[in-house]
Symmetry: D2
Subunit: 463 residues, 4 copies
Amino acid sequence: MSDTLLIRGGTVVNADRESRADVLCVGGLITAVAPDLEAPVGATVVDAGGQYVMPGGIDPHTHMQLPFMGTVTRDDFYSGTAAALAGGTTTIIDFVIPDPKQPLMDAYRTWRGWAEKAASDHAFHVAITWWDDSVHADMGTLVREEGVNSFKHFMAYKNAIMCDDETLVRSFRRALELGAMPTVHAENGELVFLLQQEVKARGVTGPEGHPLSRPPAVEAEAAQRAIAIADVLNVPIYVVHVSCAESAEAIARARARGQRVFGEVLAGHLLIDDSVYRHPDFAFAAAHVMSPPFREKTHQEALWRGLQAGHLHTTATDHCSFCAEQKAMGRLDFGKIPNGTGGVEERLTVLWDAGVNSGRLTPSEFVAITSANAARLFNLYPRKGLVAPGADADLVVWDPAAHHTISVASQHSRGDFNLFEGRPVVGRPSHTVSQGRVVCALGDLRAERGAGRYLKRPPFGPQ
Amino acid sequence: MSDTLLIRGGTVVNADRESRADVLCVGGLITAVAPDLEAPVGATVVDAGGQYVMPGGIDPHTHMQLPFMGTVTRDDFYSGTAAALAGGTTTIIDFVIPDPKQPLMDAYRTWRGWAEKAASDHAFHVAITWWDDSVHADMGTLVREEGVNSFKHFMAYKNAIMCDDETLVRSFRRALELGAMPTVHAENGELVFLLQQEVKARGVTGPEGHPLSRPPAVEAEAAQRAIAIADVLNVPIYVVHVSCAESAEAIARARARGQRVFGEVLAGHLLIDDSVYRHPDFAFAAAHVMSPPFREKTHQEALWRGLQAGHLHTTATDHCSFCAEQKAMGRLDFGKIPNGTGGVEERLTVLWDAGVNSGRLTPSEFVAITSANAARLFNLYPRKGLVAPGADADLVVWDPAAHHTISVASQHSRGDFNLFEGRPVVGRPSHTVSQGRVVCALGDLRAERGAGRYLKRPPFGPQ
Amino acid sequence: MSDTLLIRGGTVVNADRESRADVLCVGGLITAVAPDLEAPVGATVVDAGGQYVMPGGIDPHTHMQLPFMGTVTRDDFYSGTAAALAGGTTTIIDFVIPDPKQPLMDAYRTWRGWAEKAASDHAFHVAITWWDDSVHADMGTLVREEGVNSFKHFMAYKNAIMCDDETLVRSFRRALELGAMPTVHAENGELVFLLQQEVKARGVTGPEGHPLSRPPAVEAEAAQRAIAIADVLNVPIYVVHVSCAESAEAIARARARGQRVFGEVLAGHLLIDDSVYRHPDFAFAAAHVMSPPFREKTHQEALWRGLQAGHLHTTATDHCSFCAEQKAMGRLDFGKIPNGTGGVEERLTVLWDAGVNSGRLTPSEFVAITSANAARLFNLYPRKGLVAPGADADLVVWDPAAHHTISVASQHSRGDFNLFEGRPVVGRPSHTVSQGRVVCALGDLRAERGAGRYLKRPPFGPQ
Amino acid sequence: MSDTLLIRGGTVVNADRESRADVLCVGGLITAVAPDLEAPVGATVVDAGGQYVMPGGIDPHTHMQLPFMGTVTRDDFYSGTAAALAGGTTTIIDFVIPDPKQPLMDAYRTWRGWAEKAASDHAFHVAITWWDDSVHADMGTLVREEGVNSFKHFMAYKNAIMCDDETLVRSFRRALELGAMPTVHAENGELVFLLQQEVKARGVTGPEGHPLSRPPAVEAEAAQRAIAIADVLNVPIYVVHVSCAESAEAIARARARGQRVFGEVLAGHLLIDDSVYRHPDFAFAAAHVMSPPFREKTHQEALWRGLQAGHLHTTATDHCSFCAEQKAMGRLDFGKIPNGTGGVEERLTVLWDAGVNSGRLTPSEFVAITSANAARLFNLYPRKGLVAPGADADLVVWDPAAHHTISVASQHSRGDFNLFEGRPVVGRPSHTVSQGRVVCALGDLRAERGAGRYLKRPPFGPQ
Ligand SMILES: [Zn+2]
Ligand SMILES: [Zn+2]
Ligand SMILES: [Zn+2]
Ligand SMILES: [Zn+2]
Ligand SMILES: [Zn+2]
Ligand SMILES: [Zn+2]
Ligand SMILES: [Zn+2]
Ligand SMILES: [Zn+2]
C-alpha cells in the first residue's frame, strides 16, 4: 500500500538518545520504532544502513514570498518549502507582517492564502507592528481560533515596522494573558537610524557601511531591554537571530536568574563573518546584507558555545531571497539594500558539518537545535520534532559520509546566490520524508505544490 | 499473569513531554505506552486516574551501610533501598570508597557483597583516594569489566581520603582515556583544616562551628579548581552536592564557555538553611552536620535557579544515616561529628512540593532533575529514566493531590531523625513499581530483600 | 586678620593618602599644608587634635527649592545649603529642570536666580526634557558660556519630563561634541506606568505600592540602555542614584569592557530598606517615597561593594524636602505622592559611621566617595575635593569620636522628617570651613545667606 | 648649589590631575610645585617646556642578577637599575628567592649584598618557598626590622620553588598577622608538569611547546585559588603578571564582591602575542620564553581594559635577562629554556605609546599604572609615586613628541635581545631625575654605581 513506508537499518536519533531501530510509517504517521520490523506488504522500503534517521528539520524563521516595495522575494511558499524539503527541513514557521494600521486578521488571511501552495507543513508567527484595541482583540482571535501561539516584535526599522516600548509592553502583557510566546528582532532602531546617517555622512555608502551602522552593542541593548521587560511582566521570551556574544551573554545571564528566555541562531551567523561586506564586488557584498549583520569571527565561537551550553536553543535561517536586481536598489546607499539571505536548504548540512563533524555537538544535540527544541518552544511537539509512534512521519535519513560542495548551481531555491557557495561539507540527507511520503530521494526532489498543511499551534498553559 | 501490570488512566510524564496514556509492563519491562490499552488477562491493574506516571526516581548519591570508626550507618543496602522505594526512587548509585592504599578491586568487591541485599536496582561510583600504577590499572578493569563509568574524588578530608592535585590530575586523565566521568566532592581540604583549628581556638566547639569552618568560598574554590583541571584535560566533570551560589556560578560560567560540566544538588540544600546549626539542642544541630553544610537562605534560590536554567542537572540526597549515638562522638568537637543526613525516601515529595507546586518547575522538568538527567549522565538511559516501550518498568504513580506531613515516626529508613520533620507537603507516590512489580501501594511497602540488581553502566564514547 | 585661618594638629586626609599636617587658609584659599605651621598674626586657629581634616563634602545631586504643582519643596537654596554646611558639605550640584517646550536658557536663568541666596558654593546640571534645534543650540551656550558640563536625562516620568530614546540619543551625541557629561535617572518609564496601573488595579493604593511599581529590573533595564547608547556613541556616562545590585552589575560589566561609566549612590539606599513602605503610618511611609525606591536589604551590600571595588564612585542625597502636607497629596494614590527625601545634612555622618567605622572604607576612600570623585567627574578638581595649596579653603574638621543621635528635632533642614531619625552615629564634623571661613563650629551654624558662589565647570577634553 | 634642581615650564602629572607647574628639588627632595618658581642661585635648571613632569616609574617586578644553574642573568643590580633610569624608572622592587630549606634571613642578606651596587632606589619582596617555624619567625623579622611588607608565592615550578596549598594557607595567614601583602605567581604547577610531559610526548620539544604547556586556564585556576584563599582568610592579595582574560576576570569578579585584590600586568603581555613562539629561529623564539607565556592577541585587549576599568593596577616587566647562550640550554627541551625576558628600560615608552597615544589612558592614568599605584600598594607612597613637596625627587621629564625606534643596539641593559625590537614609539623621557640628581639627560646616562638606597617599606594597618 502506497501510504506505508519502512525505513530500515538506521540509527534513530532523538534529542535525548540514539538507538538502532527501524521506523514504520502508515497514513502519514509514525506507527512503530523498533529493531527488526517486518515490512508490511506493499510498503515502500528505504534502506538506512549506516545512516541516521532523525526528525525532519524545523526552520522557525523564514520569510517566503515577502512583499517589498512593489516586488517580492524570489522564493514563494512553494519553491521555498520545496528547497527546504530538499535539505531535510519538513516544517517552516514563517511571519505574517501587517503594515502599521493594517488589521492583523487581514494580514493573517493574506499570508495564509499565499501559503496554500506550500509543499511542506508550515505555521505562522504574527508581527505586532502597531497598537490599538483591535490589535489587542485580534491577538485573542489568532490564539484562540487560528492556532497562532507566538508574536513577533521588531525593535528596529524606525519609521516602518518598529515597535516602540509602549507597544512592546502592551503586547507582551497580552501574550502572557493568552499563553502565547513573544519574540523579538532585537536591535535598537534609534541607534541604527543615527548610525546610518553618521556612517553615510562620513562618505561610506557601500555595503561595508551596513555592519558599521549595526554594531553588536545595538543588538545587545535591545535584547537586554526585551528580556528585562519580559522579566518584569513575567512572560517567557524568544530572541530571534542572536548574532553576537553580547546578546548571547544577556540571555545566559537572564537564564541564570531562572528566567525563561530562549535564543535562536542563524546558520549564517555561525559560519560567516563580516569580512564579506568589504568584498569589492557590490553584488557579492550586498547579497550578504541582512540584519543583524554577520559579525567578527570571534562571535561565532560564542554562538556555538551558547548552543553547547543550552542557553541558545534553536537554529534557523531567516530565509529571505532577494535577488541581485533587488539588492541593487541600494547601490548608492547601503541603507536601501533589501535585507535578506537564503539558506533554508543548506541549514542542516552546514550545521552537521560544522557542529557534529567538529565534535561540538552530538547527533542528539543536533536534533535538539534543528528540530526538537523549536517544536517544543512553539508547541508542535511531539507531533513534530520527535521520532516516535504517533508523531507525524516527517523524517530525514541522514548520510553522514556523503561529501558534496554547496553551490547556487545545484540549489533548489530560486534565489540567485548561495551564502555557503563553495563550502565542502560531509553529511547530507539521502531521503526526506514528509507526511509519510518520500519527497526527496538521493537528490531527486518530489515536492508537491500545495501538499503542505497549516499547523495550528495551541497556546501554552491552562486556558 | 503475575508479571503483567497495566497502569491505567494517568498522565505519563517524561523529561520532554506529558501525555495521557496507559502503561503496560510485561516481564519487568515497559511494553506499551498508549491511550486506552486493553488489560491483558490476569494483569494487575493500577488506576492512575488524576495522577502522573513518571520514571522512578534515581538517587545518584547515597551511602548505604557506610563503615565509620568501627560502626556503620543505620541504613544498610536493604533498608536504605526499601526506604527509597517507599518514596518513589527505584535506583540508587552508591559509592565504593577504598581506604588509602587499599586496592580498588578489593573495595569494589566488598561493596558489591554488601549490596546483594538491596531491594532496588543499584550501581556504584568508585572513589579514587590514592594513586599508584595499580589504581591506574584497576580503573581500567572497573570500566571495562565491571560497568563502572564514574569515579569520585574527595577534595576535602585532609589526612584521610583527600585526593591531592597530583592524584586529581592523573585520575581525570585516566578517566578521559577510559570514557568515564570524573566526579568531585568540592571543598578545599587545607582551608577546612585551618579553619577548623581556628574556629576551635576561638572556643567554638559545638555544631555551630561546622558551617564556620566550611564557608561557601571553600567550596567554590575547589569546584573552580576541579572544573579548570577538567577543562585543561578536556574531560567532562560532575560536581556532587553543589550547595552554594558561588559554586553554581562557577559551573554556569564554565558551561557558558561550552565546557561539559554537570552539577548535582541535594534536596536538603534546596530547603534547609544554616540556622539549624545554632539550635540549642546538640542532637538536633548535630543531626544536620554534613558537608558541605547547609547555607544561608539566599543560596537556596541560586540552586533552584540553576535547576531552572539547566546549569544544575540532578538532585540527590547523600543519604548517610548516622544516629544520635554516632553523632555524639563529636559532642566536644564539631570536627568529630560524623557527617551525614538522610532523605532518600523524602527527596521526590519535597522537591515536587517546593519545585512543582511553587511553579518553579514543570512536571517534565521534575522528571529531568529527579531521574532522566541522572540516567543520561551515568549511562543508564533509556533503560532507566524514561517511560517508553523497552525501558525497565521502574515507575512511580504520583498523586499530586495527596497531603501529608513528613515525620521520622512514619519513615522507613532506620535512621532516627528526619531532615524534613514536620514539613507539610502536597504530592506523593501512590504506587512505586520496580522491575514491573508494585513494591509500594498506598503506603504498603512490599520491598523484597535482594531483589535489586547491580546495573552495569558502559563507558561513554567509542571504545 | 580675619581672612586667615590655621587648622592645627589634625590628620589631613585626601583621596590618595593621610598625613599629619596643619592647614593654612588665606583669602579663601588653602596656602599651606605642612606639619607645624606657624600661626600668622591675627589668624583664627582651630585645634584639630585627634581629628581628621578633609575636603568639604560635595553633594552632586540635590533639588533645593523645587517647584511642584503650585508649591515648592521646604528647603530653598539658603536653608538647604545651610543644612549642608552644618553637616560638612560645602558644595552642592543642583538641577535645572525645564518643562517640556520651555527654553533651556529661561529655566537656567530662573534657577540661577533662585540660587543667589545660597550659603555655599554650588553648580547646576541641566536636564534635557525635550528636543528641538533650540535645545541643541542652548546646550552649546550652556557649556561654552555658562560653565555647565553635565546634562541630566529622566528615563522615567512618562507624560511629564521623560526623555524618549530619540532625545536621549541626540542629547548624548551633542554632549560628546561639547565635552559634557550625560547623566541619567535610570528607570523604564513605560514599565513604571503599566505597573502603577496594575498595582492599583489590584487594590494597592498606599505607599506599599510604590516599590511594587518600580522593581529593580525596571531600573536595571534603563541603566543598561543608557550605558549601551553611551557605548555606541563613545561618550562617558554617569548614572545617578544607583539603588540596586542589578544596576551596579550593569555598570561593573561596562567598566570591565573599559567603558567610562560612573555611578552615584544615595546615602539612603545604602542604609534604608523597603520595609519602610509597609509601615502602617501613612505619613511615615510616604515620607520615604522617592524613586528609585528603597530596596530589599541585600541590595545595600551590593552598593557598598560597588563603592569598595571602585565601580561606584560618588555618594549623594537627592535632597528634596517635601513635607507631610505635600506628601498627603498621594493619600489615595501612591502614584501622586511627591517623590523626595532629605539627607544633605546627614550624608557625611551616616556614611562615616556605616562605612569607615565598619571597616568597609578607609578614611581616604571616604574622601574619594564624598568629595574628590565628584569634583573630578564634574571638573571642579583640584579647586574642590582636595586639601592642597591653591585649592579653595572648603574643609571639614572631623571628630571621629563624637557620638550623637540623628533627629529631626536638631536638624537644620526645614523639612519635617529625617530619614535617619534615631540612628546613633559615631563621627561628625566639629568645624566646617567654606571659602576660608568657619561656617559651623561645634554645632554653632553661621551660614551666610548669599555667600555661596556659582561655580563654572569647564567642559572636558580639548576645546 | 649642586643639590638644587629646578624643572621649569612643564605640565606636572600626578595620578589625580595635571597642572602647569615648575618643580623645585633640594637635597634630594621635592620642595615646591607651583607655577613660575624662581630658580635658586646655582640651581640646575631643566627646561620642560612642552613636556610632562611625572613621578619616576616604579617597576614592582624585576629579577636582577638572578642565579640560575651555576650562571646568573646578564643584568646585575647596577646595569639593571642603570637601564631602568635610562627609561625613566627610578625604583625597582626585586625578589629574594630562598632555596627550599634555605633560611629566609640568609637569602635576604645575600640579595641585599648583591643590591649594594644598584644605581636606583630599590626594595625587595621575599619569596616563601617552603615552610617551618623558622620561616614563620623570619617573616616577622623581615616585616618588623627589615622593611619588607610583601611576600611572594610561586604556585608553579613543581619540584623546585613551588609552594603547596598548605604553605600558601599558612603564609597568607601569617602575612595577615604582620600587615604584609601576599603576592602570587599564579599557574597550577601540577597541570604544567603534566602538560609539559604530554606536549613532549607528542613530539613537540621546541619553544612552540611552551605556550601549549601553560594555557590560560592553568593560570586562571591558580589565580582563582589564591584569591579564594585570601578571601577566606580575609587578607588582601596581589597577583603578579596577569597575562590572560580569564585571570583578569577572576580578579574583577573578586573585586566586585568588595574583596581587596590587585593585579599587575607586564608590558610584554600587553603588546606581544604567542606567535613569537612559532618563529622558526630558535634563538628568537626562546628569547620570548617566560611564564606565563605571551598569549593570543585577544587577551591583550582584556588586559588594557582591566587597566582602564581599574581592576588591574600596576605594570611591571619581570625583567630577567637571560642571554642566547643561556636560553640554548633548552634547545632540545622547551621545559629547560630559562624563563625570562627584559624590558625594564622600555616599559614606560611602550606603555605611553600604546596606552596614551592610542587614547586608552589619560596621562594621569599612565602615572597611576606605572608609578603611583605600585607606590601605594607597597607602602612607598607618598615618598615615591607623587610629585609634591616632601616627596623624593624621583622624576621623569617626558617628551610626548619624541620619536624613536626601539633596538637592542641602543639599549643599556646588558641583555642581548630586546622584546620590542624595531617598534617605533612616540614619547620618551628627556630627563630622568633620581634623588634630585639628573641621571639621564637626552640619552646621556649618568647612572652611579651604588647610589641607590634600600627602601624600607612599613607594614599596613595598626601594629
Ligand atoms: Zn529580523
Ligand atoms: Zn526575519
Ligand atoms: Zn561529599
Ligand atoms: Zn557523599
Ligand atoms: Zn532621580
Ligand atoms: Zn533627583
Ligand atoms: Zn613569575
Ligand atoms: Zn618574576
